[in-house]
């Protein structure tokens, strides 16, 4: 044990000097970005449950990882490179990750294996009341229409030079559904997970700023003033049968949606069936929170400087905004169509709620409706397309997975 050697080792390991070696300055930039994300999450309340974790994960990885020699890092991109490399002896070896990974590598296994998004969907299902959708099945058309941004952004991304897999992952940002976006991106283009997850959650939080201008642009005041009839009552039995039916049809149509749609509907069945409150409560709370903790920090870990700081990230941010905007437009246009076809019984403002982002988008519809006509209560009507949008995004993801997945 030579004192000079030890001192040297400590100095070499230390992040303070790494900033000034090679591309270490990029880590400084990423640390600044993580602080901005923390500010957005905490002060601006941008989906803080996930964004604070993602931002802190980003901070941790950029404090501890300066390249493959950072053996103490919490996350090791090169291990995951081996994992994906068919030539490597560690191809598809989670054992290698467990044995040589840091804490965030190990937590990331749950993202990679698609466990966390599925478990979160169990909780989302247990929190979602599909009643407004069952009462008004044509909401599903709006939920479908509002996937427009997914496919437009996909097309745009291909035009900008992204591969098919990457473009599909970027497109799904327009689904406005965090877990779905993470699930698809992990499978199709894991190298883009960091920016895509951040874009997805940030834009979801920005829904109240993104949607209103488009809503005013695309609808007339008369349309926005439309009051809708009260929905019919939905019986308990219908609510119980609904998740079973949806699981059947959607999974048969697109088996690749099974993990997401299956979990969403199982969670919903536990919620509605009336004899499993314990489980419904646990998947909404303890389990969902634990998974959110793990998901947040491990997604944040994928933002190691080298893979985040490039022009692609900027493109993803731009394409993500496009995706959100056009999904809104898609929903509004079909909303207008329904307004016309029903002779003015449907308020087109509920179309934009089809992007999902439950329940934020539905609240935006409610607010805009009330601005046009203070006695207008669109919330429950907008909840139909809103929850339909979750199913719609899952189907869009299933399609992209079927086409681009191995």
């Amino acid at each position: 044990m030579n004192i000079v050697e030890t001192l040297e080792k400590l100095w070499n390991d230390s992040g303070f000097q790494s900033f000034f070696v090679g591309e270490g300055w990029k880590n400084l930039v990423m640390i600044a970005i993580s602080c901005v994300l923390l500010y957005l999450g905490i002060r601006k309340k941008f989906e803080p449950l996930l964004l604070v974790g993602i931002a802190f994960g980003c901070l941790l990885v950029n404090l501890s990882y300066f390249g493959p020699e950072s053996t103490d890092a919490l996350y090791h991109p090169e291990l995951w490179k081996d994992f994906l490399d068919e030539e490597s002896p560690f191809y598809h070896s989670y054992g290698n990750i467990m044995a040589h990974g840091g804490l965030l590598d190990i937590l990331y296994i749950g993202v990679k294996a698609g466990i966390y998004p599925s478990l979160i969907f169990l909780g989302v299902g247990a929190m979602t009341d599909f009643g407004p959708l069952i009462a008004n099945p044509k909401s599903l058309l709006l939920g479908a229409a509002a996937q427009m941004g997914v496919f437009l952004a996909f097309f745009g991304a291909v035009c900008l030079g992204f591969t098919g897999n990457q473009a599909a992952s970027i497109g799904i940002i327009g689904g406005a559904d965090g877990p779905t976006a993470i699930f698809l991106t992990t499978r199709l283009a894991p190298e883009l997970l960091g920016p895509i997850a951040i874009a997805a959650y940030s834009y979801m939080a920005l829904i109240p700023m993104i949607q209103p201008p488009l809503m005013k642009l695309l609808t007339t005041k008369k349309e926005r003033e439309v009051k809708m009839e009260q929905n019919r009552n939905v019986t308990k039995t219908e609510k119980i049968i609904f998740p079973i039916i949806v699981a059947m049809f959607v999974i048969l149509l697109l088996p690749s949606t099974a993990p997401l749609v299956g979990c969403l509907m199982l969670g919903n069945l536990w919620r509605e069936c009336g004899v499993t409150e314990r489980l419904s409560d646990t998947v909404q709370n303890a389990l969902m929170n634990i998974v959110t903790v793990f998901l947040g920090i491990s997604v944040g870990a994928t933002t190691a400087a080298s893979s985040f700081l490039n022009i692609k990230t900027l493109m993803i941010i731009a394409l993500g905004l496009t995706a959100f905007a056009f999904s809104t437009v898609g929903g509004l246009l079909v909303g207008k169509l329904m307004y016309l076809l029903t002779g003015g019984k449907v308020n087109p403002l509920i179309g934009s709620a089809g992007v999902s982002a439950v329940p934020m988008a539905a609240r935006v519809s409610q607010m805009e409706g009330q601005k046009a006509n203070p006695s207008n209560f669109l919330l429950m009507h907008a909840m139909g397309p809103n929850v339909a949008g979750v199913i719609g995004s899952a189907i869009a993801a299933g399609f992209l997975l079927a086409v681009f997945g191995k």
């Binding site: 090169e78 490179k81 099945p137 283009a189 080298s306």
Partner: protein, 134 residues
């Protein structure tokens, strides 16, 4: 610490292969169509199952309407009575309650607290009277 940044860059290799713009356009349109196909299919199924349950629903609604009108009459007859249907948190309605010198909001709060504590929906409890003690 001499990091091989070429290696590092290689870590972020692109997944998948580039595709033609034409193919992308077809895929996009086709995908959007599949989403519509799936949800329209589901819509049809829901209309079918919904049809089965609507007849039951009709009966239930008729019954409810009757109850509501009865409550309305009582309320009109006694202007001090509140029906805390608008309570944001507690599910269900709580019949009606006489309030003596207690603001409506406070009464609603007290009722919500007790209902919450007893794990009982408000409509299974009857509050006869809430009075501020002076």
């Amino acid at each position: 610490m001499n990091i091989n940044f070429t290696l590092l860059a290689a870590q972020t290799a692109d997944s998948g292969t580039k595709m033609e713009i034409g193919d992308a356009a077809i895929t996009a349109v086709f995908g959007y169509a599949v989403v519509f196909f799936g949800l329209v299919l589901l819509m049809i199924v829901l209309y079918i199952t919904g049809g089965i349950f609507k007849s039951k629903d009709a009966k239930v609604k008729a019954q409810e309407k009757a109850t509501l009108e009865k409550v309305k009459k009582e309320v009109e007859a006694n202007p001090l009575t509140v029906t805390p249907l608008a309570l944001p948190c507690a599910p269900g309605s709580a019949g009606h309650v006489k309030l003596h010198g207690v603001p409506d909001k406070d009464a609603a709060m007290i009722m919500a607290i007790v209902a919450d504590k007893m794990q009982t929906p408000l409509n299974e409890l009857r509050f006869i009277s809430i009075k501020e003690v002076k």
